[in-house]
Symmetry: C2
Subunit: 320 residues, 2 copies
């Protein structure tokens, strides 16, 4: 099998991309405790919160307090979503390590999600990138819907390349290719990752996957096989998209870590502490949801054979 | 991306591998209607039933009647599980096109599932293969737990190759590599498929995947990239394993079809009629279960933008 790099980096986006659409307001103390627990798992990056208007996203109204109070583990990059100059200022005030700017590659999703045209968003992002230059804080741009828009359908690769190139020219230090509503499929993921790598050699590319149609891990493999080393993921598969009915959340971090570690690819993340966090998520967000890997356990978490087996056959084991 | 063949074959195992563990007895008329509807979807193979003792699997006690009454669509191979000579005779009486024999590659799972040692199972299968020779009906062998056993852990590749080789020498016309409890991961799948292909060149290999830890579609891609063209799958992801708590069912047929068709790989299966069948499954088996692709729809089943969008912006579409 064609393999990628022996080491990948995971950006845990659950505290931001997951909690932002939850109906329950998670208390600030609990958010800080969640990020601190995630810090101890070994993530390369954690997207802590979003400096959007508290009116737009009340779930993350405590962005500054959370970012101020989290324990900064050395080596972990603490990022936050920043939608405008005011958000950038708030994020800088509390020492955010890296900014994540967002716009959609498709026109209708951008209008529905951000209430601006793509041109307006691009101008806004360019202004943020300009304003951030003095701070020397890296600014990544997440391009939504690059593998398909729930309203417009497929997005031309040329549009993705145009936006990525212009945003990098404006100062973006990395691009995240987002499968916002789980429309990506493996050959498409590979082709787009390769096209962006070719157009912008050396640019750090992150892939952001959703598991809406079951393909999240297959798409992660496809991206990894092209050389992508950075993956967004949300513990417990939190998140979703309000504009795509039936859309499930982000790729489960625990499943992504488990798969890559099984393959001998180092993620830096310790699975068991992560599973402990996942176990507490339904209580944190006050709703039930299924977490398959937690139910089944890691692949080599073997079970005791039925009791009647020893009586019938004596001790048993497949010979090595 | 390294790609496999442009056309694959899907073996729909839901009527056997799915229904056998359901608590509700599905009426014979409904089973026949299910298989007939599946026949119209374009599957290469359908595993219709199991000729096990009605005491062992009461859910499939009507095996002969179902196999007699289904409509035989030309081009579809109708298979059945056959555990012993008596089962073979019953299957032959009703014109089963192909037999599927089963044993585990791990000792403890074989004892727990089949109540025999592997040596005993191998002797039984060899006797069935011998007895079937006169009929010229093909006999596939499904080797369970080849990617890991829920009791014994990893199974040595040498054991899988030994059993596969000996069973092929005894007359098996194909081997199915079964990830019985969803322990497989992509590089492992690729390595084992390649090892079996090398050891038994030209042998038809089928891959049987479960989605227990989210990797079913990633594993399907890995197998396909090595040249495997035959895939077991169950509509709606029916099935499971009674010995692995938390284990989910087979890879969802609709997700497998959807992924490969998105990639331009022909499965022969029409997705919409299949989704119609999947929609009826919860009623058929009298329990609720989630079918993500049905909830989300195929990737290009786009949605209407929110109504306020047109008022604010006028008509909108990403330029081609």
């Amino acid at each position: 099998m064609n393999t990628g790099t022996p080491r990948i980096e995971i950006n845990e986006v659950g505290p931001r991309d997951g909690l932002q659409i939850e109906k329950t307001f998670v208390a600030t103390d609990d958010k800080v405790a969640l990020v601190d627990a995630l810090s101890d798992c070994g993530f390369a990056r954690i997207e802590v919160t979003s400096f959007t208007s508290p009116k737009a996203i009340p779930a993350l109204a405590d962005a500054q307090e959370v970012m101020r109070r989290i324990r900064r583990r050395p080596g972990v990059v603490y990022t936050a979503l920043v939608p405008n100059i005011r958000g950038l200022e708030r994020a800088l005030e509390v020492g955010t390590d890296e900014m994540n700017l967002v716009m959609s590659s498709s026109e209708t999703h951008n209008r529905a999600n951000l209430r601006m045209t793509r041109d307006q968003s691009q101008a806004e992002l360019t202004a943020i990138l300009q304003a951030a230059k003095g701070s020397h804080v890296p600014c990544n741009v997440s391009l939504s819907t690059v593998f398909g828009c729930p309203f417009d359908g497929d997005v031309p690769v040329g549009e993705v390349l145009r936006l990525a190139t212009q945003l990098v020219e404006a100062g973006a230090t990395g691009i995240t290719l987002c499968d916002t509503t789980g429309m990506a499929y493996p050959t498409q993921v590979a082709a787009l990752c390769e096209a962006v790598s070719r157009a912008l050699p050396g640019l750090p590319i992150t892939i952001h996957l959703h598991n809406t149609r079951g393909m999240a891990l297959a798409n992660a493999i496809a991206a990894w096989q092209t050389g992508v080393t950075r993956f967004d993921a949300a513990a417990g598969g939190l998140g979703g998209c309000p504009f795509a009915p039936g859309a499930s959340g982000n790729v489960n971090t625990e499943e992504l870590v488990h798969m890559f570690e099984c393959m001998g690819v180092r993620t830096g993340v310790s699975l068991q502490p992560l599973l402990d966090i996942v176990q507490g998520l339904p209580q944190l967000v006050q709703r039930e949801f299924s977490t398959p890997l937690l139910a089944a356990g890691p692949r080599l978490a073997t079970h005791q054979p039925p009791a009647w087996l020893a009586e019938k056959f004596g001790p048993t084991q497949t010979p090595a």
